[in-house]
Symmetry: C3
Subunit: 220 residues, 3 copies
C-alpha cells in the first residue's frame, strides 16, 4: 500500500468497478442483449481495467478474480442495470448516462491504477501508463465486445483526463505529498474534467475540421 489509508484504495476500486459495470450493462441494454449478456458486459467493463492492470504488472491472479467484493460490485452493477435501466425510447439519455458513469469510473481507476502500480514498485512513467490503461481498459473491452468503436478513440477528450490524474498521483508521490486528500482530489478532478468535456462537447483537434457532415456521422 502506498497510501496510509488503505480503505481509500478499496473504495476507489469498488466505485470504479460499480460504475463501469453500470456503463457495461447500459451498453448491453442498448444492444438489446439478454440478462446474461448484460451481466457479462457489466462484469467485463467493471473488472476489465483492473485485470489488465494486474496482468501488465505481473500481479496474478488479478484482484478482480480473487476479491469477492469486486466481483460482487460488478455483478450488482449488471443486475441493477437490468432491473432499472432507463426507458429504451430515451436513447439519448442512455448514451449520456453511459458517458457520465464512464467519467466517474475514469477518475476512480486512473488513481487506483497508478497507486497499485507504484505499490508494486513500478517506475513513475510506468505507473502513469498503467494508471491510464486501468482507467480506459474496461471501457475499451466493453466497446470492442459490443461491436462498437471504443469511446476512447472517438472525437472527444477521454484518455487525457485519465493520464492527467495518474500523473498527478505519481508527481505527488515523487514530491512526498501523496495522501488521501490528494488521491481523492485527483479522482474527482478527472471525473469533473471528463463530465465537462461531455457537457461542453469539447473535442480534441481533428484532421477533418472542414468536413462537418462526417463529424456527426463518426459520432453515430
Amino acid at each position: 500500500m502506498i497510501l496510509a489509508d488503505a480503505r481509500l484504495q478499496l473504495v476507489l476500486d469498488l466505485v470504479g468497478v460499480f460504475v463501469f459495470a453500470l456503463s457495461g450493462g447500459l451498453v448491453a441494454v442498448q444492444r438489446r442483449l439478454d440478462l446474461f449478456g448484460v451481466l457479462v458486459l457489466a462484469v467485463v467493463a467493471g473488472l476489465g481495467g483492473g485485470i489488465l492492470r494486474d496482468v501488465l504488472i505481473g500481479a496474478t491472479p488479478p484482484r478482480g478474480l480473487t476479491d469477492w467484493r469486486l466481483l460482487a460490485a460488478a455483478a450488482l452493477g449488471g443486475l441493477v442495470t437490468f432491473r432499472w435501466h432507463p426507458n429504451l425510447g430515451r436513447r439519448r439519455l442512455l448514451v449520456r448516462s453511459v458517458r457520465v458513469l464512464d467519467a466517474a469510473g475514469l477518475g476512480a481507476f486512473c488513481v487506483s491504477g497508478a497507486l497499485t502500480a507504484l505499490a508494486q514498485g513500478a517506475a513513475p512513467l510506468t505507473a502513469v501508463i498503467v494508471g491510464t490503461l486501468t482507467a480506459i481498459g474496461g471501457g475499451m473491452l466493453r466497446d470492442v465486445l459490443a461491436g462498437q468503436v471504443p469511446e476512447v478513440l472517438r472525437r472527444e477528450l477521454y484518455a487525457v483526463p485519465a493520464a492527467l490524474g495518474a500523473t498527478a498521483v505519481v508527481v505527488a508521490r515523487e514530491l512526498g505529498v501523496l495522501g488521501t486528500g490528494v488521491a481523492l482530489a485527483a479522482a474527482l478532478g478527472v471525473a469533473a474534467l471528463r463530465v465537462l468535456a461531455v457537457l461542453l462537447d469539447l473535442n480534441a483537434p481533428s484532421p477533418l475540421r472542414t468536413s462537418a457532415p462526417s463529424r456527426a456521422e463518426s459520432r453515430e
Copy 2:
C-alpha cells in the same frame, strides 16, 4: 495435477482445443477468409481460452504456446475445416455446427480450466471464474476477430453452463470427491446443457421481451 488421472486433463484440453479450432475455422469459412485466415482463426479459437487462463493465473509461457500437441490439435482443426467444411449454401447448417462444437468445447474447457486453476493453488471462487473464462475466452476472441458480437453476449444461455461446470469441479474438490468420473460427468453435463439450450432455443430473460421483431434481428 489435481486429478490422479493426469491423462484426463490432457484429453479434455485436446478435445476442447480441437473442437474450438473447428468452430473458429467454420466462422472463418462463413466470413470467406482464405487458408491462412482459417488457420489463424482456428488457432485463436482453439488456444485462446487456455492462453487467457494461463496468463490470468501467471503460468507463463502458456501451455498453448509450449505443448506441440495442443498446437497440432488447433492447426489440425483449421486444416480439417478448410478441407471438408460444409457446403456454404447450407448456411444454417454451418451456424448450427459452430454452436454444437462450441458446446463440446465449453464442457471440456470449463472443467480443464477449473482443474488447472486449482492445481496452481487458486482459491475456490477464483477457480470457478478462471474455469468459466477458459471456456468462453476462445470463442470471444474468435468472434471479436471475425467482427461479430460474441456468442456469449447473444440471447441464449451460454456462460451459465460453463460456470455451473466449473462450480461442480470446485465443489467436488472441496467435498473431496473429485475424480475422473466427476470431472468427465461435469464436462458432458455442460455440453449437454448447452446443446439443449441451442435445440430448445432456451433464452435468458431479456429487457426487451415485448419487441418481437428486434429479437430476430439481434440474432442476425
Copy 3:
C-alpha cells in the same frame, strides 16, 4: 541478450514500434478520429505486439510500458501521422501506405520477438510462435479497436512471412550461426516477402475461389 550486438535488438524494436505506430495513426485517419484517437491507435499498434509478447513470456511489466524510448517512438509515430498524413482524397494511397508500413514492422517484430523469447529461455517452438504473435499482435489490436477485420485474417499472405522470419532466427540459433547479419537478413527478407505479396496480390488458397465478386467485397 541472445545477440552479441545488443543494439540491433533495440533498433529492430524502435523501427517496429515506429512503423506500426504510423500504420495505426493512418488507420485512425481513415476512420476520421481526432488527435487523441490517432495517438491512442498509434500507441496501441506500435506497442501492442511487444506488450503481448512480454505478457505471454511472463516478462512483466512489459518493456513497452517501461522503456521511454519505445513509448516516445510510438507517440512520435502518431504525431507524425497526424501532422503529415497523406491527403484523404487519395484513399488508395492510404491503404497501400498502411500495408507497406505493416510489412516493415512485421519484419522487425518477428525477429525481435523470437530473439526476446529465446533470451527468456523459451523452447524453439515457443520462440517461433511468440515471434509470430509479436509481429501480428499490434496490427490485430489496431484493427479490432478500429472496428475492422484484422489484416492478418484477410485474403493475403501475412502471418506466413512472420512465421518464416521467426523460424529462421530460431533455426540459426540452433545451428549456432545467429548473428547480427542473419537477424537483419531475416527482418529484411520478411518485409520484402510481404511487400511482394501486396504488390503482386499473391493470395493464399481460398475456400471460395469460384465466387469472384465476393473476393473484391471481402477486401473492402
